[in-house]
C-alpha cells in the first residue's frame, strides 16, 4: 500500500514537471488545430467525442497498448487524426502515437529510478503500471488543453 502511494506521488510529480506539461500542452494545441477546421456544431461535438473517447480508453484500460491500438484505429478512421497541420505539417495521431510509444519513456525511467528496479515479472508489472499512470496523466492534460484551446477559438469567433 505504501509503495502504491509512493508510486502515485512520483507519477504526479513527474507529470507536473515542466517538460511533461509542455509536451501535453503542445499536443492539446495540435489536437485543437487538427479538428477546429471542421465547421458546424454537430461536427465539433463529434470531435469532442474523439477526445472523450481517448480519455475514456486511457482511464479504463489496464494496458498501455490498448491506448496505442485505439490511437492507431482512430488515425485510420478519422480525418482529423491524420490531417497535416501547422508549419511543421504534423499529424495529431502520428505525434500522439510516437509520444506514447517512446516520448514518455524518459518520464517512466524518472519515476522508476531507485524505486522500481530489477528484472522480475513483478518489477516489470510495476513499471508498466507507472507507464500507464503517466499515459493517463498525459492524456488528461492534453484533453484539458484541447478544450481550453477550442473554447478560446469559439470565444474569438463569437466576439
Amino acid at each position: 500500500m505504501k509503495k502504491r502511494i509512493e508510486l502515485i506521488i512520483r507519477v504526479n510529480k513527474e507529470a507536473g514537471s515542466e517538460e511533461f506539461y509542455q509536451k501535453s500542452q503542445d499536443l492539446g494545441i495540435l489536437a485543437a488545430q487538427s479538428f477546429r477546421e471542421e465547421q458546424g456544431r454537430e461536427r465539433q461535438q463529434r470531435h469532442r467525442a474523439q477526445m472523450t473517447g481517448l480519455e475514456n480508453i486511457a482511464e479504463t484500460t489496464l494496458k498501455v497498448t490498448d491506448v496505442l491500438d485505439y490511437v492507431k484505429k482512430q488515425t485510420a478512421r478519422q480525418k482529423g487524426w491524420q490531417k497535416e497541420v501547422g508549419a511543421n505539417k504534423e499529424r495529431f495521431g502520428e505525434v500522439l502515437k510516437k509520444e506514447i510509444e517512446s516520448g514518455l519513456k524518459t518520464f517512466v525511467d524518472n519515476v522508476c529510478n531507485g524505486f522500481i528496479e530489477g528484472t522480475t515479472d513483478d518489477v516489470k508489472q510495476e513499471r508498466q503500471e507507472a507507464y500507464l499512470l503517466l499515459v493517463r496523466q498525459f492524456i488528461r492534460q492534453l484533453v484539458v488543453r484541447y478544450e481550453y484551446q477550442v473554447s478560446q477559438v469559439e470565444e474569438r469567433v463569437r466576439s
Binding site: 492507431k72 516489470k124 508489472q125 508498466q128
Partner: protein
Amino acid sequence: MITEQEQEKIRLLSDIELYPQAVEFIHGVARQLPQTQINGLLNVSLANTYDELERFIDHQRTRTTWRREDAHIPDFYKRLSQKLKQLEAYALSIMKSRTGQPSREDMQTLKMLLAREFIQHVLAENAYMGATRAFQNPDRDNTRNQGRPQGNYRGPATRQGRVQ
C-alpha cells in the same frame, strides 16, 4: 479458469512482448489486409474457441479462390498460423506457476487470450499502416471499397425490378 494473476501476466506480455512482435509481424506483410478479412478474423478471435480460430486460419490459408489482388492473404494466414504456434510457448510458461497439471480447457483458453491480444495489435497496426501508406505496395490502401464490385454496380436487383 484463468486466475487474476495469470491475467496480469497476459496483460504484461501483451504490452511488452506481443505489441512489438505484432508491429514487426505486420511490417513483413506486403499489402494491407482488406476490411473483410479484418472483420472476419476479429469476429472469430473474439467469439470463438482457440480450436475454431485455428480452423479458420487453416481454412483461409489453404483457400484457393482468392482474387489476384488478394494473393497476399494466404501468406498472411500462413505466417499468422506459425506465429500463433510460437505464442503457445508463452501459455506454457504462464501455466508453469500452477502446482498441478492445467486442464486442456484452461490451456486452450489461455492460448486464445494470447492470440486475441496479438491479433488486436496486428489489426490496429494494419489499419494504421494503411492510413499512413506505410505498406510496401500501397496501391490498395482504400480498404473501404475492397470486396465491392467494380464499375457502376447499384446493389442487388429489387424484387420489383426483376424480370418476372
